[in-house]
Symmetry: C2
Subunit: 321 residues, 2 copies
């Protein structure tokens, strides 16, 4: 498999996945435009199928495989949105999905994977146990392993959200997106630099899971150790592949604290009437923090997802006074 990703891969991915995904809405907001003195466009992947951008990469990866490659199904380890996305992509393609999940995964996530016909294999909640079990299932079944982000076709799929955003807004001056494993930001930054050569690409991270920030500072890939943040989609560390793409394309990485994340989340729920997860609020918090630089600019924000337990979200917001 190729080891890098080009804009052509993103354009190809977009044609491939279009029939299977939502073209999510792009919303503007008087409130956020006044706050930043900028023209702000939110690409709302919280309204995507499975509630997050992850379906883009999963569909691209699964539908890139031929009948023979798919005959034994696909496989991943994930407790998050990639698990549901891969299960749904496999269902749409008519193949089987094996999902290795930690045995402490929330029941609602297990149910979601099963509702798409995915087979759940439980393991201990450590990265080692996940990888060992995924390897074992792969050996037993011959299923194709599809990593959540360390995978060119996943990255190309995630880049299609920016392409759609650009098709509605034209050239942007800034784009904000969060960095977890770096798949979304890799695809976003490749599309952004190709379509808007003068754009500034801002990577957004929680202070409690700032592996990308520290990796950029040191010039070496530094994985997260025991990251702590409400933005549970951003706990993972980058891979060599995503780090190398980000080093090339990302202009700046900015971190924000938990209080800022939850304040931004609440503002978005209240003002936009949209449910977003804490990971999505990280980009909004970063944007609000650097508003002095945005005056008069055209700004895009990738809202990565809206999968949050409502009690948990409401507790986070109401405790954040």
């Amino acid at each position: 498999m190729q080891s890098s990703v080009s804009y052509a891969d993103i354009a190809t991915a977009h044609e491939r996945i279009k029939p299977y995904i939502n073209r999510t809405p792009v919303f503007t907001s008087g409130f956020f435009s006044v706050q930043t003195s900028a023209e702000v466009f939110f690409k709302c992947e919280n309204m995507q199928r499975v509630g997050a951008f992850k379906i883009r990469g999963a569909v691209n990866a699964v539908f890139s495989l031929n009948e023979d490659e798919l005959k034994n199904g696909v496989l991943t380890h994930s407790s998050g949105n990639h698990a549901q996305a891969l299960a749904l992509a496999a269902k749409m393609r008519g193949t089987k999905a094996y999902i290795v999940m930690p045995d402490n995964a929330p029941q609602v996530k297990v149910d979601a994977v099963r509702s798409y016909g995915g087979e759940v294999i439980f393991c201990e909640p450590t990265l080692e146990a996940r990888e060992t079990n995924a390897q074992r299932v792969q050996d037993e079944t011959g299923a194709v392993f599809i990593h959540p982000y360390d995978h060119p076709r996943i990255i190309a799929g995630q880049g299609t959200a920016f392409k759609e955003l650009f098709e509605e807004t034209g050239t942007l001056d800034y784009i904000f997106a969060p960095i977890g494993g770096g798949g979304l930001m890799s695809g976003t930054s490749i599309a952004a630099k190709h379509l808007c050569p003068g754009i500034r690409v801002i990577g957004c991270e929680p202070q409690g899971a700032d592996d990308a920030y520290r990796s950029f500072q040191s010039g070496e890939l530094i994985p997260s150790i025991n990251p702590q943040t409400s933005a549970d989609g951003l706990l993972t560390s980058m891979s060599e592949l995503t780090f190398s793409i980000l080093r090339k394309n990302v202009d700046e990485i900015i971190t924000v604290g938990e209080k800022e994340i939850i304040t931004a989340m609440r503002l978005f729920w209240e003002r936009m009437k949209l449910v977003i997860e804490p990971s999505a609020a990280v980009s909004i918090a970063v944007m609000l923090n650097m508003k002095e630089k945005l005056k008069g600019k055209k700004v895009g924000v990738i809202i990565c997802g809206g999968n949050v337990d409502l009690e948990r979200a409401l507790l986070l917001m109401t405790a954040n006074k």
Copy 2:
């Protein structure tokens, strides 16, 4: 002033208010379509300016007045969305708004009215005190009183939401909207019966504020006495004007209990990633209750608003387990 409302009034209102309101999105949903075996379209007035449909009527009423009529400003009594809507409409028209509010109104609503430049006059939290104070302010200032729903231009404005919905969906078989004072349902039902003559118009009410249901049963206008529901936008009683319009156009009024309302609200937040207020969930709950009749039909639902205090939403949802 005329005492009835025609579709022509709604069309005129639409041209008048278009520059000042959002054309709100219409969303479909795989989940709700599967639940009902119908094609369901949600007209999302929670994403309207001030977070509710009320700005439509307020702008229509205020912008219908000439310079001379507006020279002393406009006036209403309301603790709800109409208060904010009238204050914003007056600001956009360059005139003054006096808003009589009960002295126990939430600070956030008082602040919202003031943020639009509205002058708040506090009174005791009774209908009598509100009316007395409104009369006094009118006598003192000469401002034009604009009732929240007992007003042909308000009703015509509220009917524009259905017109926009129809422009995107074409002919519908069913339309669901809530009934509080009856302004939204009056406008909706006039537009619906004109644009889709075969449509069934379903009025939706909480069991704890079922004055329209009881009025329909008895054939006489029966006001609510001490209504109790989480759907705080539906506590008001109809007027003779709205009752007469509803008797002509509404095919059926269906009530739902509190548990059904909050369950529907939660489903909508989780599945659509949209924040809606309990009053908006009433229509969804009614639709889900009568799904047997909806199989294969094209169904519209007016989502009336999204103004809910998040602390209160948390309490409602966690108490509803």
